[in-house]
């Protein structure tokens, strides 16, 4: 905990702005992906090639600092977890594409969008020390997931 509450408050607001900007990025990216898949109906290839481009773009900005970070901090467990983050994310995207082929969009998409509840469950069950999860956070997540499920069922 920081000693300066004003700096803390700024960091929290900045964190929320980043989270909303990220959701906006994912959201507009999804619309473009849907548009592209209408022209070029191969979602896994689209995902693979866009990942290569994304990796190259992030490398331009972060490769030098990442190498410094790895040399300075010598993280081992943390690198393994970053690798798992990448595997989970790829598993998520590719399973969703396969799920969409096997089930109607109105079923597959809402099921996949329950992921914030999975996050809370995983923290609660396996990483209790990582973060405190309150009833308010759980209720808020339920409301958000209910809203998303409502939107995805009726727009798909």
């Amino acid at each position: 905990m920081s000693l300066n509450p004003k700096i803390d408050q700024k960091k929290i607001i900045f964190g929320y702005i980043l989270a909303f900007t990220s959701a906006l990025g994912y959201g507009t990216g999804t619309v473009l992906t849907k548009h592209l898949i209408n022209i070029f109906p191969n979602p896994i290839l689209v995902s693979g090639v866009s990942l290569i481009i994304g990796t190259l773009i992030i490398s331009v900005f972060y490769l030098k600092n990442s190498i410094k970070d790895l040399i300075k901090n010598k993280p081992k467990k943390e690198v393994t977890n970053a690798i798992f983050a990448g595997i989970s994310s790829a598993l998520g995207v590719n399973s969703l594409f396969i799920g969409l082929k096997l089930a109607p969009v109105s079923v597959a998409s809402p099921v996949a969008n329950t992921f914030p509840l999975v996050t809370i469950l995983v923290i609660k069950l396996f990483y209790g020390k990582l973060e405190k999860i309150t009833l308010q956070t759980i209720l808020g997540s339920f409301l958000i997931v209910s809203g998303i499920v409502t939107i995805t069922i009726y727009t798909s």
Binding site: A23, T119, L130
Partner: protein, 149 residues
């Protein structure tokens, strides 16, 4: 049934990704975690594409498709994943992930603005539920996470 199970696996994949990222950022910067996770995702997805895609498909990529792929990469990985992980570092995974989960709402709004899709009652009800959820989460006191940035 198999479609639902596979979609549930997708949910588990998306849901655990930020938790792993959060643990990795205890000692690394968000840029490093994003880069390592992107390299891994690329390897896994290219492996999947070898199994599920005919190599001839790669030759069908024209200039228009490359341009769209470039913008998708910028939006999804530069703005999406990098800022997702950075926000996890600032406000924690349990608060950042539900907000990232509002992505379909932003997709609907974008489609309404740019693709002439119509606002329907389910979209309005869903939006109200999401806004209430966001109010509940953001009004709660947040412990500031020690940041590597």
């Amino acid at each position: 049934m198999s479609g639902i199970i596979i979609s549930l696996i997708a949910s588990i994949g998306f849901g655990t990704s930020s938790v792993f990222a959060k643990i990795s950022m205890l000692k690394m910067k968000s840029g490093t975690t994003t880069l390592i996770s992107l390299v891994t995702s690329t390897v896994v997805t290219l492996f999947a594409s070898i199994i599920f895609t005919d190599p001839i498909e790669y030759t069908k990529l024209n200039m228009e498709i490359w341009l769209l792929l470039f913008w998708i990469a910028i939006l999804t990985y530069f703005f999406g994943r990098l800022l997702n992980y950075t926000s996890v570092q600032y406000i924690g995974v349990s608060k950042a992930t539900p907000i990232i989960g509002t992505t379909p709402l932003f997709a609907s709004v974008t489609a309404i603005i740019f693709m002439d899709e119509k606002i329907t009652i389910p979209i309005l009800i869903g939006t109200i539920l999401i806004v209430l959820g966001i109010i509940l989460i953001t009004r709660e006191k947040t412990d500031v996470i020690k940041s590597k940035n």
